[in-house]
Subunit: 436 residues, 2 copies
């Protein structure tokens, strides 16, 4: 048993009695020192993480969606490798307890890395000891395969009796032109998005969840992101992607409550009675989009700006002065549209997509080199929406066939997940899916 | 031509006249707007990066060795793909100018991402616009293959007439037991270590150097590190590695000037007259060490602590109370050494290695999953020393055969580089190697 923590155990305030103090008292008798009950917490009464470093775990929505986008990401997609529904439920309960603790800057269990005694595997792997909560958020989602056969996996079995609970809009993404999907970077039964300002905190969280899942889930793929490419609140400045352009200027933000209701949060009427567990939740589209940065970097400034439809420095729509000026798609110069018909900003703009919006939350990545002398860099695209088929798919279909930017993009990973609403006190991840 | 910047161009103070201002003045005439000479600098007179964010580029030593270890890393090994010595020298000159600028928080050239005009590829890729210098350091090194045939590459040619200038201790690393070296993660003619507190700044720097090197060098491999595993000054707290243990407690630090002189900086007597260009420099050993974290996480606390030889929480040597207490290798418990004969701390300790020290500067990494349900995580080991053959090799030979930790390590990348001393005003990277 890899993790002896029992489900539903109530959080225990870390004691001030550290293992170090115990060792000090017992001198050299380290082998015999019984450290049961002691803990070296990441957050003790004496050194609580600063309040601004803790994002609340429970609430109407899961944290990590409209939470101000943290700087770093570790995203993980898991395969469920058991048919045992009870084992999966037990894991989800244990995950919930550990996840909530980690978002408070605590170890996975009160005993943590050193407290359970010498002859027990530590319940926390320890590499986040001493680090703050770092605004860690952990956001869970459930993939199509968990609900039985899908078009992409027609042989999947409905292992957990969840077939009737599949949300209406949860399917695998369709194939888009120019994709080169790697199955080892796509799909997954469960996802956990870990965002934090300190990457070690995000990595620690995913690693410990993976570890707790031994025998129940296994890591299908994971992706680190080193820099956010979206702002999700109006207080954040717009970051830049690996093309060097500001990204997400026109993103839906936490303050746009009307847009969130219309385009992000799932409503009762979106699903049959059997899938109401998702009401108040959303869907996540995750795509690993490698950028062909070397050819891009050899393009001239005009070409780059015409592909994007914005200036590179300020990020203003072409023909405008400032980043947040509205684009005017009707301006012409010498008889041609100033914002070309193939410009990314035009094709992705709500005015050109029946008003459709997405809440983007992507990250820049660089994963070493590709073996051909180039960096393997790009955008890990994350977007939340109320209906993948009605929002993301038509927009992406248009972009994939007409967007000039597509020439520089190599999408090689894709996945879709249903993201349940937030947890009330006492609830666990997936409770309304499995018990509802 | 991927980068029109001419070598040796003197830095020009960024003007306050931005491309945005120009666009504002010319209205919709964006296509015609001649932006020559304007720049949107990362650091303008009005918004200089805070002084604590800038690490000086020039000096007796290269920055990035004893500089307080920054939080994030992007390390890149390049192959030189030309036989044209003049082209390589020209690149090194251009690199030096760009590197110095970037460490000041500026773009690669005064013209930068948007200033050279519409019909020119931007001289900076732009993704660091608006970010501070973030304590960026760029440290260059030269690999064995640059100097002609080596045991690992017997067919290499001495393309640049540098054979006589090979430093005495610069060879490929020998094969160690249990290694599984991947050639695509090993070796390299030139390395650049980019360290910064913001990973986007480090990634931007490597990416722009790679871009400038088009046709002269290509990326052989690169590695991101998300968290430092060493302290290099006494002011830094000891970080933790992916085993959850504090790492580098006993590291040589900037304040240990005697140790640095003895074990890190190359002395005149270390090399023949033809290789005096390295005097005052050092050697770098880089190893990608994947950790087998899943089996590790299933080991009990006692086993983990006996493998390391320190307590997990405090990081004290077994039998001691505090992290910085000296280990006592003679203490026994029930007839056995309290710090086992196979413990990492014992085998790596200077007292057990004829006093040999290394300056460690490694980083934690996680590069997605391995395709078998596990995270591909570990330690990117970086260590500086005065003589690889006399310091690193004997220590590593002992560790590889006797260290209990070896069971959990899968070294799959390795490289060695000669790291020249720092630059005086007007000097360029490699000048004394190529001109001396």
């Amino acid at each position: 048993m890899s993790d002896p923590q029992t489900p539903g155990e109530s959080p225990v305030t870390s004691t001030r009695l550290s293992r170090r103090a115990l060792l000090g008292a017992t001198g050299v008798g380290v082998v015999a020192a019984a450290a049961g009950g002691a803990a070296i917490g990441r957050a003790t009464a004496a050194e609580s993480p600063p309040p601004q470093d803790v994002i609340g775990f429970r609430g109407t929505r899961q944290a990590g969606i409209i939470t101000a986008a943290q700087d770093r990401l570790h995203f993980c997609a898991f395969d469920v490798i058991t048919d045992d529904r009870a084992a999966l439920v037990a894991l989800l309960k244990r995950w919930t307890t550990a996840a909530e603790r980690m978002t408070r800057g605590e170890q996975t269990t009160p005993d943590g890395a050193v407290g359970l005694g010498d002859y027990t595997p530590p319940a926390d792997t320890g590499e986040a000891l001493g680090l703050s909560a770092s605004k860690l958020t952990l956001t869970i989602g459930f993939g199509p395969g968990l609900f039985g056969p899908t078009p992409a996996f027609p042989d999947a079995r409905d292992r957990f009796g969840l077939g009737a609970r599949r949300p209406a809009a949860l399917t695998q993404l369709p194939a888009f032109p120019a994709e080169r999907l790697d199955p080892d970077r796509s799909y997954g039964d469960i996802c956990v998005q870990a965002c934090a300002d300190d990457p070690q905190v995000a990595v620690h969280a995913i690693r410990n969840l993976a570890r707790m899942g031994f025998g129940v889930v296994s890591v299908r793929w994971s992706q680190l992101g080193f820099g956010r490419t979206s702002s999700t609140t109006t207080s954040q400045t717009t970051p830049r992607n690996m093309f060097g352009f500001k990204d997400g200027t026109n993103n839906v933000r936490a303050e746009n409550t009307d847009l969130l209701e219309r385009w992000v949060w799932v409503k009762p009427e979106d699903n049959p009675a059997s899938a109401q567990w998702l009401t108040g939740g959303t869907y996540l589209v995750a795509r690993r989009i490698r950028m062909d940065i070397e050819p891009w970097d050899r393009g001239n400034l005009l070409e780059q700006e015409q592909i994007i439809g914005r200036t590179k420095g300020e990020g203003a729509p072409l023909g405008q002065d400032k980043e947040f000026d509205a684009p005017d798609f009707n301006i012409t110069s010498k008889g041609s549209p100033l914002i070309p018909m193939t410009a990314h900003v035009r094709l992705a703009h709500p005015d050109q997509n029946n008003g459709v919006r997405l809440l983007r939350r992507g990250y820049n990545f660089t994963d070493g080199s590709d073996g051909f002398g180039h960096l393997d860099a790009g955008l890990f695209f994350l977007a939340f929406c109320r209906d993948i088929g009605k929002q993301f798919v038509p927009m992406q279909t248009k972009l994939a066939t007409r967007d000039a930017l597509t020439e520089y993009l190599i999408p090689n990973g894709a996945a879709a997940f249903a993201i349940p609403p937030g947890l009330r006190d006492g609830e666990w991840w997936g409770q309304h899916l499995f018990e509802g």
